[in-house]
């Protein structure tokens, strides 16, 4: 990978950050649609907030700031958050939005308490854990990029192999269930894809804002296409663009990475919603206008 990085017209650390953020954006953008299109975007938000206590607990137990260890903690706690929400919905018979609200704020509160406790320990080791709050691209090393590429690549491969099944079951879970694929499997699969995206993204974009990198590229891509097979790569490409441009911009302007990436991704989504050729607000308004004038004209002719 180093040979490739040397090809970029950027200083080496910036080349690593740019590549890593692009890979992350592509993976988050491609994995999220299977949850977002089913109305489960906020489920991902709560899972992303759930990574915070995971990062803190992993640090407390292991005592070193090794990203791999912290991410394992993040993944376990994100899955815990998912299990808590499903449990509240099924066993506690809580409405889904209430279950998400409870889980999101409780895990965030726990994360803040633990992070504050760690900061007061004052070992000096803990500095940098707050990057998981708002995200930080600086300090990304080649090993992080490889990790994102391999784990994310495996998830992408799974999407390609199971695409027909994922599409059918996300679109019409009952049909797929009659065909022999129980509904819980698609819930589990889309949750697993979300966990992977969230865990890979939380250090760069931050637990609070990660949801935007899941949702905004998908919203933008949905405005541009009517086929899932096109939407997934387009959403990935938009995520990659937001990731790379946001990370570079934030690095040079001395701004926090997560918010800048999120603002760019949101801007892309807004632009797509406005200007998309078929589904955009402007083109729809134009078609309505054209239809109305055509009608008026034909009425005048017939008179």
């Amino acid at each position: 990978m180093n040979a490739l990085l040397d090809l970029l017209p950027l200083p080496y650390p910036e080349a690593v950050v740019a590549t890593g953020s692009a890979v992350l954006g592509f993976i988050a953008g491609s994995l999220a649609p299977f949850a977002v299109l089913r109305g489960r975007a906020m489920f991902g938000d709560a899972m992303s907030h759930g990574t915070l206590p995971g990062v803190a607990l992993a640090f407390l137990f292991v005592g070193v700031k090794d990203p791999a260890v912290l991410l394992v903690g993040a993944a376990i706690c994100a899955l815990g958050a998912a299990a808590l929400m499903i449990g509240l919905e099924r066993a506690g018979r809580t409405a889904p939005d209430a279950a998400i609200g409870i889980t999101l704020s409780a895990s965030f509160a726990l994360g803040i308490v633990l992070l504050t406790h760690i900061a007061q320990g004052g070992s000096g080791q803990q500095s940098g854990l707050d990057a998981y709050l708002f995200g930080q691209a600086a300090g990304m090393v080649v090993r992080d990029v490889w990790f994102t590429l391999i784990l994310g690549g495996l998830a992408l491969l799974a999407i390609v192999v199971f695409f027909r099944l994922l599409r059918s079951a996300s679109f019409d879970p009952q049909f797929s269930a009659v065909a022999g694929v129980p509904t819980w499997t698609i819930d589990a699969a889309s949750t697993a894809l979300l966990v992977i995206a969230v865990v890979l993204g939380v250090r760069t974009v931050g637990a609070i804002l990660m949801v935007a990198l899941l949702v905004a590229p998908c919203v933008a891509a949905r405005a541009l296409t009517n086929r899932l097979g096109t939407l997934v790569p387009v959403s990935g490409a938009i995520g990659a663009l937001a990731g790379v441009s946001g990370a570079l911009l934030a690095g040079r302007a001395g701004l926090p990475t997560g918010p800048v990436i999120v603002l760019l991704a949101t801007a892309f989504a807004a632009a797509a919603l406005l200007f998309a050729p078929r589904r955009g607000v402007l083109s729809r308004a134009w078609r309505r206008h054209a239809a109305r004038s055509a009608r008026l004209e034909s009425e005048q002719v017939s008179r």
Binding site: P173, F175, V178, A179, L228
Partner: protein, 251 residues
């Protein structure tokens, strides 16, 4: 041929509860092969639940379902399901033809390419439902009637022996409803069995062969003329019989 074989569907003592509250109690009825059958009954009678119980989409707390003489598991390819429109993900990025092709997946599996016989089944379904002009349209830009044609085309493409439809004519214009009922009747004439939840009692009386009157449990089942009697309807709806169900409250 045994008697079992002539029954497309056989429910015995089916019981379903949601969160401890019984929705269906002691539901038993038979649907013979080759009939156009309707499940009718008031709101909250458990009509959709009965269909879902039949197809294994909700767990039974008691009872037994036999499909085409055996179990659903042995017959997945031969059963086509058209779910209620609000159970399908809204605004999903999919085109009409992609929905119809889904009907072949139970035969072809989730990984293999569709072959020539799949293409033939899809083309025939498209032709019979009259959706040839809509194939590349995104599903969310179609009208209610067009959407329902697409979902019926998916069921036809499956070339199933038992078609199960939940409220197939909701949000569908009268002309489409008539065309779709004609099509369902043709399928029955060819030997398939159709079971639909339907709430327009007038259409049921005119067009369906067989009916199951449901209100938590089965009040009557059999030939339409025997089931839709004034007395049975009064029992089901708890008041003077009427020809259509009152406007459906928000689900």
């Amino acid at each position: 041929m045994s008697e079992q074989h002539q029954l497309a569907l056989q429910l015995s003592n089916v019981e379903v509860s949601y969160g401890g509250r019984p929705v269906l109690r002691e539901v038993s009825f038979d649907i013979p092969t080759g009939v156009l059958a309707a499940i009718v009954g008031p709101n909250g009678a458990g009509k959709s639940t009965a269909l879902k119980a039949t197809l294994g989409l909700v767990p039974l707390t008691n009872g037994d379902v036999r499909i085409l003489g055996t179990t659903l598991r042995a017959n997945r390819r031969r059963v086509a399901y058209v779910p209620q429109q609000d159970l399908v993900t809204k605004d999903f990025p999919i085109t009409a033809i992609q929905v119809v092709e889904m009907g072949r997946y139970p035969h072809r599996g989730w990984f293999r390419r569709l072959g020539a016989d799949d293409d033939a089944a899809v083309a025939e379904a498209v032709e019979r439902t009259g959706i040839g002009a809509l194939l590349d349209e995104p599903l969310d830009e179609l009208s209610g009637g067009q959407r329902q044609r697409v979902f019926l085309a998916r069921a036809l493409a499956q070339r199933a022996d038992l078609l199960v439809l939940d409220e197939p004519f909701t949000a569908v214009d009268t002309r489409t409803e008539e065309a779709l009922v004609d099509l369902l009747a043709e399928l029955c004439a060819d030997g398939a069995t159709v079971l639909a939840v339907h709430h327009d009692l007038r259409t049921v009386a005119e067009r369906f062969d067989h009916a199951v009157l449901l209100a938590g449990t089965v009040l009557a089942a059999g030939e339409v003329s025997d089931v839709l009697t004034t007395e049975a309807l009064a029992r089901a709806y708890g008041l003077a019989p009427r020809h259509t169900e009152p406007a459906r409250a928000a689900r």
